[in-house]
């Protein structure tokens, strides 16, 4: 592996370790929830990172629809896959946190349900990518990404109309967090975003190499078919 990649990996690991230290040691224990609340430092940064990646996926899909470059399609598939991983982390850490605090694993309130629906939409996006024949995948997936992104406000608004049990958004919702808690969240977000960027980089390289291999195979079979 090349040196810059190794340095990047070391940096990400250091950032993640520092974030973990901030979340587990530096941040004070929450008054009512106790130490369980510390899962917050993984839950929220994962969600922010996931949203960031889904937004990049949408932009790359629009870009693909206008320009038809393989780069934008590779970015779209990369960010959708990595984003889904982080979104899955949100869906797993959420119930682990909810069980001791609310007494239930799951409730059908606005944010939980929207999160689940968004997860379903991106799973269906990846299924289309898997099941369509290779020449059409990019166009179909880009179209579907537009549908998925256009659906997000409707999903949230419609489910929000029910009464919600989830705590109001932390940002702009009063800001009663202790400054050291804020530090822990933001450091973890930085670490998670860097981790996501690293994962995306590897996945993107893999995608490019796969495409190169496919092209080479196609070219070879073409050359073999033609007279020398």
């Amino acid at each position: 592996m090349k040196t810059p990649v190794l340095i990047a990996i070391a940096l990400v690991v250091a950032l993640l370790a520092f974030g973990l230290y901030q979340g587990l040691v530096v941040a004070p224990t929450e008054q009512t929830m106790g130490d369980v609340q510390r899962i917050f430092y993984y839950h929220v940064p994962s969600a922010w990172t996931g949203i960031l990646l889904f937004t990049v996926n949408f932009v790359a899909s629009i870009w693909y629809l206008f320009r038809r470059t393989t780069v934008s399609d590779s970015i779209a598939v990369t960010t959708a896959e990595v984003g889904l991983v982080f979104w899955t982390i949100v869906l797993i850490t959420g119930p682990i946190w909810a069980r001791p605090v609310w007494g239930i694993w799951w409730t059908w309130d606005a944010r939980l349900t929207s999160t689940l629906v968004l997860w379903l939409i991106y799973v269906s996006y990846l299924i289309v990518r898997r099941f369509s024949s290779s020449g059409q995948t990019a166009v179909l997936a880009a179209a579907l990404a537009v549908f998925g992104f256009a659906d997000v406000p409707f999903v949230y608004l419609s489910i929000w109309f029910f009464r919600t049990q989830h705590p109001q958004p932390v940002i702009g919702g009063g800001g009663k967090l202790d400054p050291t808690m804020w530090h822990a969240v933001l450091y973890n977000w930085l670490a998670f975003s860097a981790f996501a960027a690293l994962l995306c980089w590897f996945r993107y390289q893999l995608e490019r190499k796969q495409r190169d291999v496919e092209e080479t195979i196609a070219l070879e079979s073409l050359l073999e078919g033609s007279p020398r």
Binding site: F66, V117, F131, G135, L140, F147, S158, I159
Partner: protein, 256 residues
């Protein structure tokens, strides 16, 4: 999009060739003189085929009937809560039945290579899409008109809220299902295991619309509060997704 522009340019260069070769001049409805005629011709063709075969309607009706009967075993349909869950049951039955019809939307066109012919013709792609969506809308509407009395009888329903809102909810909700369903049927056409793919795509995207229909219907049936929020949500949903479908359909049609 680029393909479409190139194709238009190529066709404009040889107008006489296309008007004689592609269009049959004897039938005024099939000449590509204006946008409405293509839409109208495709729609009438589908309606006439459906009128003769009654494939979609029959399969949808029987399927919806089965869903109603199966539901009645799963819940107590005559209890006091029937009115509260009826909105959900009706729409889930219609959604499942609509998927049956939507899945067949493009099958005939693929079998006879109509889509390929359409791609090389000058006819605007959105006319084809709107004709198919309108056709599906009519089929599902007929289903709803036939099935609703059955629901009323089976589940002992009585409308307490303003009943005139129900047709509005039905039209907005049906269009929401059908416009996305027609589009996703065109996408799933190009995938392996197409029959499974359509609900996989349609259900997640349709969740807000389904929630809107179910809640609005429930509110009207029970007369508890105002359904205004849900009707506005459905209308905006229809507007946004019709726009998205129309702006992307040509791209998907020409995907190679």
């Amino acid at each position: 999009m680029r393909d479409g522009a190139m194709r238009d340019g190529a066709m404009r260069a040889t107008p006489s060739a296309t008007s004689t070769a592609v269009d049959a001049p004897r039938d005024p409805m099939t000449t590509a003189t204006g946008a409405p005629s293509v839409l109208f011709a495709t729609l009438m063709k589908d309606l006439r085929l459906e009128w003769r075969s009654k494939d979609a309607i029959n399969s949808m009706l029987f399927f919806a009937l089965l869903v109603v009967v199966v539901f009645s075993f799963s819940f107590d349909p005559t209890g006091d809560d029937a009115r509260r869950i009826a909105g959900g049951l009706i729409w889930v039955a219609f959604l499942f039945a609509a998927v049956v019809a939507l899945g067949q939307t493009w099958a005939r066109e693929v079998r006879n290579q109509v889509l390929d012919a359409y791609r090389v013709s000058t006819a605007p792609a959105n006319d084809l899409f709107l004709a198919k969506a309108l056709g599906n809308f009519l089929f599902v509407s007929v289903l709803e008109v036939v099935m609703t009395p059955l629901f009323v009888v089976f589940y002992n329903l009585r409308v307490i809220g303003p009943a005139y809102l129900l047709p509005v909810i039905a039209v907005l909700g049906t269009w929401a299902l059908v416009v996305n369903g027609t589009f996703f049927a065109a996408i799933s056409l190009r995938t392996r295991s197409r029959e499974v793919m359509l609900p996989l795509l349609l259900f997640p995207i349709s969740i807000p619309a389904l929630l809107g229909m179910v809640e609005a219907t429930k509110i009207v049936l029970t007369g508890e509060s105002s359904a205004k929020f849900w009707i506005v949500l459905l209308a905006v949903y229809d507007l946004v997704f019709t726009t998205v479908c129309l702006s992307l359909f040509e791209t998907v049609l020409n995907a190679e």
